[in-house]
């Protein structure tokens, strides 16, 4: 049976990697995600499952170790926080280009630069709009609880191997460092090379025996071949949008106003809509669980129902661009969020909803104009 524990988000994620049957973890410490490597070093999973845990000499070394291990078809993970992820981006682009499965975790802190060690969601653009160079995207999962920090590790590996593509778990310092009750999954055994080939196909470099050689590379100097590769990547992203979009609607059925928020901001915004409903304001929350693919269609449909949308993020306004693209100017969309490592309170979110959306002239004007057209 699975166990119930009180754990930090970072620890739950580390334990989940062992239980998901990961073959290797390569990382380099940085606040606020150091508990991941700290936990793995203490747990010594090489004794439990044979999983390799190695502290690399730098973030760049770690991501290239991931590339190497992933090339052999192994389940491999790395984690870091914002400045460290910036260092890994070249490697992440290579992983995407070489079509390698890997799980990358970003426990976001405030930036730019070295910024602050406190929580932030300012790496949204970096996560969903490329980050590294070239035509690629990452499948991005945004956990909002310690339970999801645990559950999403296995989900991320499943997606990474389904598409042969790197997957990002985008967390933040709040979810990483807080403790909650978590139900751990049962231990999965690590796959042998034979099981791997049977389950995911014969693509990895495992030592050629009676087969064509497999080549893992992101380089293609023949333009036609390179274009074909880019088209293949785009097909994967289209399929992700069709098959693996995830989101959650909370109190949306009768909502007049909508908050869109992910991760820690979604938790805070949920309390804000509870407070709003106590005041008689019908507010709802749409929580994107995947940031790519983005819940465009659900938002597009909700825009017909609500009078205005507030995008709540711990940054200066990043996801709001995707909200606006999704609703195609059907309703006013505003942003609210604290930065610099300051976390907005539910009360602040509610106040922003009232000031920027409910009492906003544009919101009122928008609906009057619409009703006059009708």
């Amino acid at each position: 049976m699975s166990e119930l524990k009180l754990m930090k988000g970072n620890e739950a994620l580390a334990e989940a990697a062992i239980r998901a049957g990961a073959d290797a973890y390569f990382g380099y410490p940085i606040t606020p995600q150091s508990e991941v490597i700290e936990y793995l070093m203490t747990e010594q999973p090489e004794k439990r499952t044979g999983m390799v845990v190695l502290q690399a000499e730098s973030e760049i070394a770690a991501i290239n170790m991931v590339y190497g291990a992933a090339s052999t078809g192994k389940k491999v993970m790395t984690s870091s926080s914002s400045p460290g992820i910036s260092l890994k981006l070249e490697g992440i682009s290579y992983l995407a280009g070489a079509e390698l499965p890997a799980v990358i975790v970003n426990v976001v802190r405030g930036g730019p630069g070295l910024g602050t060690i406190q929580p932030s969601q300012a790496d949204y653009f970096q996560s969903v709009k490329g980050g590294g160079h070239g035509d690629y995207k990452l499948y991005v999962l945004a956990p909002a609880s310690v339970q999801e920090m645990s559950d999403f590790v296995e989900d991320a590996f499943d997606i990474a191997f389904k598409y042969r593509a790197p997957v990002l778990i985008l967390s933040d310092g709040l979810i990483g460092q807080m403790m909650e009750k978590v139900q751990l999954k049962d231990q999965k055994t690590r796959l042998t090379n034979e099981e791997l080939i049977e389950k995911y196909g014969n693509w990895a470099v495992t030592g050629r025996k009676n087969r064509e050689r497999n080549i893992i590379t992101s380089l293609d100097l023949q333009s036609e071949k390179m274009e074909a590769r880019v088209h293949r990547l785009m097909k994967k992203y289209e399929q992700m949008e069709k098959e693996d979009l995830r989101y959650e609607k909370i109190l949306c059925d009768d909502a007049d106003y909508l908050i869109v928020a992910y991760g820690s901001s979604a938790r805070i915004s949920q309390k804000a809509i509870e407070l709003a409903r106590k005041k008689g304001i019908k507010a709802g929350l749409l929580r994107p669980i995947t940031l790519f693919p983005y819940p465009k269609q659900p938002l597009f449909e909700l825009a017909d129902q609500v009078k205005g949308i507030l995008s709540v993020e711990l940054n200066a306004g990043q996801m709001i661009e995707d909200v606006k693209l999704s609703v195609e100017h059907k309703v006013p969309v505003e942003h609210f969020g604290r930065t610099g490592g300051i976390i907005h309170t539910p009360e602040e979110v509610l106040e922003a909803l009232e000031q920027k959306i409910i009492n906003n002239e544009r919101t009122r004007h928008h609906k009057t104009r619409e009703s006059s057209i009708l």
Binding site: L6, M179, E180, Q270, P346, E347
Partner: protein, 188 residues
């Protein structure tokens, strides 16, 4: 039932571990719990606080502006968190080192002389358990037996011999907590 608590003091006072024991006690009686720390880059001597929520329902925000209970262990925290107690809520503090006492009259205020009592008991480290005892006397949200189970879970086994001492400290806190009547601030 939902209880929203802030525990605030210096790093090294056992603020975070007190919160952890409380959270584990909640799990022992099948409640939802969250424990959200906030501390500066410095360790011992810096400020540290933790928001602990115990609830029978799914917890939405782990980060709050207002609390049912504030447990305050130094002057800086008093300055910062006295105003965050909801009207009708409670504030518990150790008067040791407090120069500006709380002044609100719309909340219940209690004192536990935990620093002094811990010194008398010969172990400064049980300070936080004395405070926890005081809190549980006023807000018996978790049963003592579940606190002991919570202690077992949050202490590594080599420290389990300390559990009777911790239990004694909790009882000491329960019998030592006293109400404090705020003197209203004179507006000049």
């Amino acid at each position: 039932m939902t209880e929203e608590i802030i525990i605030a003091g210096f790093g090294g006072q056992g603020v975070l571990s007190m919160g952890k024991i409380l959270a584990y006690s909640g799990i022992m009686q099948n409640q939802e719990v969250s424990w959200m720390p906030s501390y500066g880059p410095e360790m011992r001597g810096g400020t540290a606080n933790v928001t602990v929520i115990l609830s029978d329902e799914r917890i939405s925000s782990p980060y709050l502006k207002l609390f049912d209970t504030a447990i305050i262990l130094n002057q800086q925290s008093m300055d910062k968190f006295e105003d965050t107690v909801k009207p009708g809520g409670i504030l518990i503090y150790d008067p040791n080192g407090i120069s500006v006492h709380p002044s609100r009259t719309d909340i219940e205020i209690f004192q536990v002389e935990a620093t002094k009592l811990a010194a008398e008991m010969g172990n400064k480290k049980i300070f936080n358990m004395i405070i926890l005892g005081g809190f549980l006397k006023e807000k018996p949200i978790v049963k003592l037996e579940n606190v002991i189970e919570g202690l077992k879970k949050s202490l590594s086994e080599r420290y389990h011999y300390l559990i009777p001492l911790n239990e004694e400290a909790i009882n000491k806190g329960m019998s030592s907590i006293i109400p404090y009547k705020a003197k209203e601030k004179v507006i000049q």
